[in-house]
Amino acid sequence: MALPVAFFALFFAWPVAAIVARGLKADGAWRWGRLADVVTQPDIRHVLWFTTWQALASTALTLLLALPAAYVFARLDFPGRQVLRAVVTVPFVLPTVVAGSAFLALVGHGGLLDDLWGVRLDTTVWAILLAHVFFNCAVVVRTVGGLWSQLDPRQEEAARMLGASPLGAWRKVTLPALAPAVAAAALMVFLFCFTSFGIVQILGGPTFSTLEVEIYRQTSEVFDLSTAAVLTLVQFAAVGAILAVHAWTVRRRETALRLVDPAVTARRPRGAGQWALLALVLGTVALLLVLPLAVLVQRSLDAPGFGYYRALTDADGGTFLVAPVHAVWTSLQYAVAATAIAVAIGGLAAAALARRDAGRLVRGFDALLMLPLGVSAVTVGFGFLIALDKPPLDLRQSWLLVPLAQALVGAPFVVRTMLPVLRAVDVRLREAAAVLGASPWRVWREVDLPMVRRALLVAAGFAFAVSLGEFGATVFIARPDNPTLPVAVARLLSRPGDLNYGQAMALSTILMVVCAAALLLLERLRTDRTGEF
């Protein structure tokens, strides 16, 4: 417990506090009056209002489209199910710059829809909403679908036998069992949309601004640190509230459900209704998720003889000091380091949280661990710059800074994956082993490890994919001569010329393929428990 707490205090709480203090402290005195000043400004209220309603709308739209998909992936058996499940998850771990440009290539100026029918959605709120659905489908499909696939279908069948209508049986039996998972997923989606940055920045143009975008603009462009600090606190409070509700729904979900092996619950579709639903879901997935990714791949192949891919090995492009393909290597190294840190920190935290005697304080820490997911990356990035710049901890020149920031985002996923599995390990097994004379180390190796090994691998894989795609904090601290993949993509996209654009698409495609491969591996390893991701 001590290590995760120290880690988050040092690499999260301290930098964030440092940057907030920088904005709100003048001549040694706190200026809390700024809070009211800023929050009552009409512009800021407009931002708050937009942030909230677009998040609500995005969440509703995501649930509308992803719940049927969750059902289909959980209960229907069809060829290619596993591959498609991985494909649905790819957008979630893609960096927003890549997703943003994929969407621009689809609905933007000169995009596919523009060419075909003259339809353009960029700089409209529709592009933002659709991109949010694209991103967050995975959260619903994995959280709700994961549980759905393990609910015993015989309970619903029993209700039917006793005379309930299909809808009635579903409403009385399945829905109550699923409701907490749906609520938890909806809250996570709401959180991600509420703190949306890249999507709004890229697709929304100058007219739309979420709280997170406004923090970025105030810090990075207007340099009004006190406004930025107030907005950071506002976002902090909002995210804290969302997470508190989330933690509460998660705990409610841990009430005993009779779970079965997902392999026996899925069947081939029967009847016109199920076939129609399957077709509908596959159609939506193809249109909303696969099409943007396909456009990306197509644009990367737009030069003869894989020209854009071959150009990646050329160091004389001028954009970087190294060949762009070097970024792949850099990213992989960072991601391995970040995964190691995230698994160590997240694993220890999960172990502490899983103990039966964990008190309220420890359980409160559970929600705190999720905070990095909802706190502005620019705040963390700037915080790193001004807090970790003095001995004994002068990390500013160190390459380690990037994996540390990425581990902050990866650790919550590790905790969420490990926790349910660790809680399920029967204490009596450990006690029995100890009674029979096993040392604590041996108990862990012989009892715990075999049970959590798969969860550990899944957690590591997810942390790896998330680190690979992390953009917000990395862009602030990555060294210019050593860009990661997403940073390289963003920089290529901001340069003129076909060659740069094509290379950006090629790099994005490589990133996408690596993420998809990692996720496909995870599908094979997936544990039978209700991990959340």
């Binding site: 001590a2 290590l3 920088r22 512009d43 407009h46 100026h109 000169g110 523009d114 920045q201 143009g205 100058p206 007219t207 603009r217 810090t219 990075s220 462009e221 207007v222 340099f223 009004d224 001028g318 380091a337 190691a340 840190i341 160590a344 920190i345 694993g347 220890l348 172990a351 700037f382 710059l385 001004i386 710049d389 003095k390 002068d394 990390l395 500013r396 020149q397 160190s398 390459w399 380690l400 800074l401 604590p440 180390w441 108990v443 862990w444 060294r479 210019p480 001569d481 920089r491 901001s494 340069r495 003129p496 010329g497 076909d498």
Partner: protein, 357 residues
């Protein structure tokens, strides 16, 4: 419990090991023979010119490109107690006061400063910054569009609000883009502190389009640039630079006889870029040598084709492409940094609610 302790120790050791690698890394770059330049993403210099500097002075140059101009300045201010480098290049007259008021630089009088035009020396008495280059932010037009439509291109700020140019202009967000801000300041210089808002109301009524950054405006929306043409850009007027037409020619696949775009010289605002010695520089001597280098003739003559700006040193030769396909503005709008500092944030705010909301 023991197992966890073991893991904790292992991880702790790992972290220490990793940070040890990190710190040796830092030491190697802190040597006094390395000078670190912090700049924005547009920094560029010919390899042989830089190598020449390194050979002459014995310093090794490390470049840290830190985002766009505004971001780079802000980051430098935030980290000024323990700066990331020794010398900063790329603060312009619109942001100069922010850097100076925050005490980013320490005074240094560059060797060769006497050859820099007096009009560019905005910090004359204190010498905290040294002018390095200038450029003009002006409306560019698509020659073909205006020829095809038998229309004279607009010549002045006032022209842009006329009905015959309705829905033709795209500009950048003044809050997020430096040409966008320059164009706003130019209009404020032209119409005065109280007149510019009325002017922008007219521009808005006349269909001006605002996008976030220069790249998007120039390469996506503007019909005159080669990329813009491909992207289906449909706006023949864009806020860009006086040096954009030469750039169109130099970067063309096949060099045309004349530039495909022109400049409305009555819409220009002059931007001057400065370099300065960072307050707590670890290698002040190296930084000084580098600043001298920035105003040396060798660098000044190399600069235009790398960064598409004009030299500030008298007698520095401008490349033929610059004179053949374009020219600097004769009578650009200007504004004193003090005045910009006093009004910038308030103006950008009113501009945002006037034009974007």
């Amino acid at each position: 419990m023991q197992n966890k302790t073991l893991v904790a120790v292992a991880v702790g050791l790992g972290l220490i090991g990793l940070s040890a690698c990190g710190s040796t890394d830092a030491k190697s770059t802190a040597g006094s023979k390395t000078v670190t330049l912090v700049s924005h993403d547009s920094w560029a210099v010919s390899k042989n010119v830089l190598a020449d500097f390194e050979k002459k002075t014995g310093y090794k140059v490390r470049v840290l490109k830190d985002g766009d101009a505004g971001q780079a300045v802000n980051k430098a201010i935030l980290t000024k107690d323990n700066p990331q480098g020794d010398v900063f290049f790329g603060v312009d007259n619109t942001l100069l006061s922010r850097a100076l008021d925050n005490g980013l630089f320490q005074p240094y009088t560059a060797k060769g400063l006497d050859k820099v035009g007096a009009a560019y020396r905005l910090d004359k008495d204190k010498h905290r910054v040294t002018p390095v280059d200038y450029g003009d932010i002006c409306v560019n037009y698509d020659k073909k569009y205006f020829a095809d439509h038998h229309l004279t291109p607009p010549q002045s700020f006032a022209d842009l609000a006329k009905p015959q140019y309705k829905n033709l202009l795209v500009t950048e967000n003044a809050a997020t883009s430096s040409p966008g801000l320059g164009f706003l300041l130019g209009s404020a210089a032209q119409f005065g502190d109280n007149g510019w808002q009325g002017y922008w109301k007219n521009l808005k009524a006349n269909g001006v389009k605002v996008v976030d950054g220069w790249e998007q405006a120039y390469y996506q929306e503007f019909s005159g640039s080669s990329e813009g043409k491909k992207a289906g850009g449909d706006r023949p007027l864009v806020v860009s630079y006086a040096s954009s037409p030469p750039a169109e020619v130099i970067y063309a696949k096949k060099r045309p006889g004349t530039a495909p775009t022109g400049v409305s010289y009555g819409t220009c605002f002059r931007q001057i870029e400065f370099a300065g010695l960072l307050g707590n520089a670890k290698n002040p001597e190296g930084a000084k040598a580098f600043i001298d280098f920035l105003v040396s003739r060798e660098f000044q003559e190399d600069m235009p084709l790398n960064m598409f700006v004009y030299p500030v040193v008298q007698g520095a030769k401008v490349p033929a492409e610059f004179t053949e396909y374009g020219k600097a503005a004769q009578h650009p709008e200007t504004m004193a940094p003090g005045k910009i500092a006093a009004n910038r944030d308030q103006w950008v705010k009113s501009w945002t609610s006037l034009v974007l909301k």
